[in-house]
Symmetry: C3
Subunit: 321 residues, 3 copies
């Protein structure tokens, strides 16, 4: 029987961060509380803490993402870690066996942490399980996005942002809007929101971009955006990936914007103090109107700032486990 | 009305380094004086100063240039900064809007300095103005070369080199030779030389590679190299870019060398203690003969050494503003 | 007449590490002894030593190798050096002249060490000789693999591994198996083994993958693997490069595995405590069976761990010369 919480060690501490699914509520709050202590650090004249001094953090990006890699690189360097960036061509590691040989090699170099981005769902799990089997406790794995599955640090920074602006989760209505089907961000956010006790999580999108089984995740599904936004305290817009726009799933970007693009008019249906979030990078004029993206309710750049603190928090918690 | 000195703050301090045009003479000398204090640092056993400790310097290279990126990376690391290199594919940021979203994101990560290289003239300006509009004073921009427009740190290191070998600018004849039309180095050098009071700045090149309006910049134009070099104290050779050599502007590299390549014979027309400069990388046998490039009057590698110190100076001055 | 030991300075100290050929036995042992002091460092909580603080190490990779680059990067960072990675497209430096201009530029930036990987045999020599001619003693060159010629740090880490597990070299039978013809690892290992006094060095492979002149290097040649492995204390498997497998030199990977792949059955012919080494990355099922690669006699990951310590040793010794 597989472990139910492969990312926790026997003492219940975080050993890897692979997904938000199954993370205890207290642990999520512990990560957010730790992040709060780091928010000030990035604001100081000297933005360095020695918590990871002499530790080796490897950014293993099997899928290219300059943006995400940069946030982890900055977070690790502000904790004084040594950072090595590896863009690994997936073609050279197409066989699982050979991927694990690569991992074994890096472990043998006395790595302390792997930040793993991979196009295949589950790759960070496979790596973490392999390490636990062979060199348990020596290297911690952070999932920086795997396929359509999970993007837990994005989910955590989204929760940090909501808690920062709304104080508490227990009275909120949160709407997640867009291409939920292909979004690892949506999946991580929904797990986090329900774990943290948000009473009403809504998902809004066209039928073709909504996966089955959403109701079982504890969310309410809307295909009419106007209806779904009504009274929302938080709106999380999702990025529409370019390849979807000219695919069979959608008629056109213009048509999508008409129905699911967040305009000032649609935003007016939400609560007056509703905040607008987006994981970036934004497609202005596709899923979000510039007037909203640059407007007073958008907290999109705050998300980025908090994201550094959250990643610092995850790394420092893992380093102590 | 646009600000005349968008790179100076209200106290007249350097807030960004975008161009040499319009920089006050005293400020240029202040940069060169500061650089002089750093020249020794690179020579020491431990080549580190803590001036930028905890600062985050982002090398934003929208145009690839390993060579220039390396000089900034080394300069920043010798000042103890954290350096993040981003090679940003211009195709993914073809719309100005999306470029500014990228910038906003990096600013939100609490960047301290952007070193920007861009194929489009004016891109570093646009970035600096955007920052000044939204997060004034938080991030400093250094132009590391924009299109045909400017390459101010190259201009400054050239001035450092001239001052080092000649002591003073006010009695000099300086000749800039080659493809002035496409050269951001030439433009930056001419502005610097005239600002610093060089009484005779000459520009030498074939008609097809000389831009209009040179006389208004305060320089004398020559198409005959022998005439232009006569009595020169300093010769600044420009790189002939490969794409020009087989274009409509030039008959051939051989023909170019014959008329505008710097040979020992041509160099003999200049002052006996004339120094020879080149921004690199050199096309030996095209714009410069190896006998000159490796000869006793060449100070080309000194330029590289001084270039590190000048970039350290610019960064440390910006960090204090 | 060329110097016989271009990598030693006039005091007999290591000035560059270009090849194991001609390195005195005492110097090899000095490197291994120094490495032994670093093995513990990578195991500690804080894996940093200040020995190269303020030094600039340039990884000059004219041939791409993420794996090897990473080992040098980690080694340099654990010694507190500033590391700059340069992937230099060989096409832009196809002329030797222009390669040396690149080198001159980096030297002028006050580099302390060049780690050079190049597809052409001899390139690190040319660079070292150029530096010795122009800026003697200022920059140390480490060969990180040049063409088919040498890979001295791999040779040294292999010797470290053998000494670690076998204690002494003077009673050993060592078999090097596979594509010796194209292997710089094999060449470096053979020079090291004979210098260190291994009485029996055997080379095993098909005729088409064995170079001429092996006997003059002091080794015994076998084309029958069963015969060659008999009684061996150490087996060094070589990687079969993919391009060989479908070339004229070999019938097929399957056929190769049948004759020269290391299986448990073949391994049983060696001494009972024989260790199995491989420089990586492995082709499982081609030159080595997974049962052997993951078996109790394999020390392949120990090689990786020792490799970091050996590279730290080489760098720290060079920095003191």
């Amino acid at each position: 029987m597989p472990l139910r919480h492969p990312q926790l060690n026997e003492r219940g501490e975080l050993a890897h961060l692979l997904t938000i699914e199954g993370l205890p509520r207290t642990l999520i709050h512990h990560i957010l509380d730790t992040a709060a202590t780091f928010v000030g650090v990035s604001d100081r004249e000297v933005k360095k803490l020695p918590l990871l001094r002499g530790k080796s953090v490897f950014n293993l990006f099997f899928e290219n993402s300059t943006r995400t890699r940069t946030t982890f690189e900055i977070a690790a360097k502000r904790l004084s870690a040594d950072v090595v960036n590896l863009n690994i061509n997936t073609s050279s590691t197409s066989k699982g066996e050979s991927l694990l040989d690569t991992i074994d090699n890096l472990v043998a170099m006395h790595a302390d942490m792997f930040v793993v981005r991979h196009a295949q769902s589950g790759a960070p799990y496979m790596i973490a399980q392999h390490i636990d089997r062979t060199r348990r406790g020596e290297v911690h794995v952070i999932n920086a996005g795997d396929g359509r599955h999970a993007h837990p640090t994005q989910g955590l920074l989204d929760m940090y942002t909501i808690r920062h602006f709304k104080g508490d989760f227990t009275g909120l209505t949160v709407a997640v809007v867009g291409d939920v089907l292909h979004s690892r961000v949506a999946r991580s956010d929904i797990h986090a929101l329900t774990t943290l006790g948000v009473p009403e999580v809504r998902v809004i999108g066209p039928h073709t971009l909504l996966p089955g089984g959403l109701e079982q995740m504890g969310v309410r599904v809307y295909t009419d955006m106007n209806e779904g936004l009504r009274g929302a305290d938080v709106i999380i817009m999702l990025r529409l990936q370019n390849e979807r726009m000219r695919g069979a799933l959608l008629p056109s970007a213009q048509e999508y914007f008409k129905h699911y693009g967040l305009t000032p008019e649609k935003l007016a249906l939400a609560a007056p103090d509703c905040i607008v979030m987006h994981p970036g990078p934004m497609n202005r004029g596709v899923e979000i109107d510039s007037a909203v993206a640059d407007g007073p309710q958008a907290v999109i750049l705050d998300q980025v700032t908090f994201g550094i603190a959250v990643r610092m928090a995850v790394m420092s918690i893992l380093a102590q486990s």
